[in-house]
């Protein structure tokens, strides 16, 4: 069974964001990693790249599937999780502990368009 974590905001394309001050950590939900299966590669942007809410910033690949990463917010990439370069399976082990990019938010009001845990859980159950 997929896990859902409190305190995060979720998008319909199954990314989450954990907000800390003006920064947000973006990753894929546990539900998403379950759907994908064994992750073999994470295509990540570079530091200083701009991301836009609703637009693609990378991709997660398993053996027989690939899923684009859609940014839940707009902002600037300040860090990427380099551990995923060698160990993409970390996303399968713990999707919430292993965020993909850290972003400086340019428009925190975008967070209001995202779902909370309860809403996201209901969305996945559909």
């Amino acid at each position: 069974m997929a896990k859902f974590e409190e305190g995060l905001r979720y998008s319909e394309s199954h990314e989450y964001i954990r907000v800390e001050g003006e920064y947000g950590y973006i990753g894929i939900s546990d539900y998403a990693q379950h759907e994908l299966g064994n992750v073999v590669y994470v295509d990540m942007p570079e530091v200083d790249d701009e991301v836009t809410a609703g637009e693609e910033f990378g991709a997660v690949e398993s053996v027989k599937a690939a899923s684009d990463l859609i940014s839940p917010v707009s902002g600037t990439v300040v860090e990427v999780n380099e551990a995923l370069e060698d160990k993409p399976e970390l996303l399968n082990e713990d999707a919430f502990a292993n965020w993909i990019i850290k972003v400086q938010l340019s428009d925190p009001s975008e967070l209001d368009d995202l779902m909370d845990k309860a809403a996201y859980e209901a969305f996945c159950a559909e």
Binding site: N38, V63, K64, P88, E89
Partner: protein, 506 residues
């Protein structure tokens, strides 16, 4: 096929100093590459294998024994039309006079080759119900791309900016990929419960995208093996919106003798010579993907073009003389979309396709679609108990099941496919089309006998039985093949794609 793994790599058989060739030694050695400045030369020799001839012969013979081809057994791989590849066609394609032709040699010295080329263009046009064909594209996907380029060149010539292409959700993955490479945006059209194009959805999309629609791509029969019965309405709707209709010829085999894409209203299409016209798949290629167009679109086809011409000479002694023959026209007309390959396509493949057409002749080609369709419907009726048939009714040259009827055993389509390998069959196409979760797509072709098909059906029933009595055994199949199931995750996570890399990592 040998069921134990041979497993060597040629590099592992190499020994310094051995050689597998002989070249003349009596040549003028006035000049050597040592004349070239050191900055232009490589530092270290390429680490190619060093082997004697027999070692190489045995290596590639033994390797071949770990392969399964149409000549080894039934190969019901859906959508791939794994016909018998007649040996006489190989003999003809191997004729020395063809093999030694340079593509840029004067036309007068290769009229025979150009005649084959030209006549194949004409034959395909007749079979497709279209005006003209180019044989330049090297494969089906290459043909799709070329065909879409024709469509874009047509719209461009009218200063009509159209960027969208309608593609049914059941389409081959190449359709949207070709559209994207051609700079077009894909608009997906839904299928209805019968697995055919949902005309309501199409109508909605045409209203929505109207003047943006460059084309609609369709396969008919579609990837479920089902004929699109409302094809004439579809082509009319798209034409009214100003779009052109593209026919993906992957499934053309079903229709040989029964109907032609041109008569269904299609404007542009490709044919896979390696499917419908029996040329071997060769482990993935070379294929050939000729593209045909309806009247009015010929001028957009890629160059070069092989043409039949009449030239009038006025010789002082003989007076006016007429020469009729074939030429390669390299002219780069304004309207042509451009070029899509080095020269003018895979001539070696065309020879085999033309030999096939001549062998069958008009009186036999017309039976191809009927017999392929009979074989598929026979399999459909006989397997539909044990295997879930999601869409009832007639199929054409292939049939799609949605896995085993009894889902309680946990045995998947993948498991059934792998178990078939143990019994000496190639697996059907699996997990495509994407409309069903457990797709199992079977295409028997017209070349397969009732005995072959009956034996296959028996094995399919037996596997359904095994799924109930010994599901674990089926889930761990194959057991009787040179290798077992492979670790795909390991291969993708730490890719080892050369011998040298493999030496480093071991």
């Amino acid at each position: 096929m040998n069921r134990t793994l041979y497993g060597n790599l040629i590099f592992e058989l190499s020994k310094k100093g051995r050689k597998g060739y002989s070249l003349p030694q009596d040549y003028d050695r006035t000049h050597t590459t040592a004349e070239l400045p050191a900055t232009l030369r490589r530092k270290e020799a390429a680490r190619l294998p060093e082997c004697d001839e027999l070692t190489v012969v045995r290596h590639y013979t033994n390797l071949s024994h770990n392969n399964f081809g149409v000549n080894d057994g039934f190969y019901p791989l859906g959508s791939c039309t794994m016909k018998y590849n007649p040996v006489i066609n190989e003999e003809i394609a191997g004729l020395k006079a063809f093999a030694g032709l340079h593509p840029l040699q004067p036309a007068v010295t290769c009229q025979g080759a150009l005649e084959v080329y030209y006549n194949l263009q004409v034959s395909l046009a007749e079979l497709a119900g279209l005006s003209e064909f180019t044989l330049n594209p090297c494969a089906g996907a290459h043909g799709e791309l070329t065909g879409l380029m024709v469509i874009r060149a047509y719209h461009e010539s009218r200063n009509d900016v159209r960027t969208k292409v309608l593609i049914p959700d059941s389409a081959h993955g190449t359709n949207p990929a070709s559209a994207a490479v051609c700079g077009l945006e894909v608009v997906e059209v839904k299928s209805n419960a019968n697995g055919t194009v949902d005309l309501e959805d199409l109508k909605r999309l045409i209203e929505l995208e109207g003047p943006n629609i460059a084309a609609m791509m369709m396969t008919n029969p579609n990837t479920l093996g089902i004929f699109e019965p409302r094809v004439l309405e579809i082509t009319e709707m798209v034409h009214k919106a100003g779009g052109l209709m593209y026919y993906d010829g992957a499934n053309l085999n079903a229709l040989l003798g029964e109907c032609r894409p041109g008569d269904m209203g299609f404007d542009v299409m490709h044919i896979n010579l390696h499917k419908t016209f029996s040329t071997p798949h060769g482990g993935g290629g070379p294929g050939s993907g000729p593209v045909g167009v309806r009247k009015g679109l010929e001028k957009f086809l890629p160059t070069p073009r092989v043409k039949k011409v009449v030239v009038n000479y006025d010789l002082p002694e003989d007076g006016p003389t007429e020469w009729e023959g074939f030429i390669v026209d390299w002219g780069q007309s304004e309207s042509s979309l451009g070029s899509v390959g080095n020269f003018f396509g895979n001539f070696g493949v065309m020879l085999k396709a033309y030999a096939y057409i001549l062998s069958l002749g008009s009186e036999n080609i017309k039976h191809v679609g009927q017999l392929a369709t009979l074989n598929a419907n026979y399999i459909k009726e006989r397997l539909k108990g044990d295997y879930l048939l999601p869409i009832k009714g007639l199929c054409k040259h292939e049939v799609v099941f949605d896995g085993l009827a009894d889902k309680s055993t946990g045995v998947t389509t993948m498991d059934v496919a792998k178990r078939l390998l143990d019994y000496g069959y190639h697996a059907p196409t699996i997990y495509f089309p994407l409309l069903f979760h457990e797709s199992l797509m079977i295409e028997p072709t017209e070349n397969e006998s009732k005995e072959t098909i009956d034996a296959f059906i028996d094995v399919m029933h037996k596997i359904a039985e095994e799924a109930k009595t010994d599901p674990e055994m089926v889930k761990t199949a194959p057991h009787n093949t040179p290798i077992g199931r492979v670790d795909d995750v390991l291969a993708a996570k730490q890719p080892v794609t050369t011998y040298w890399k493999s030496k480093q990592s071991s």
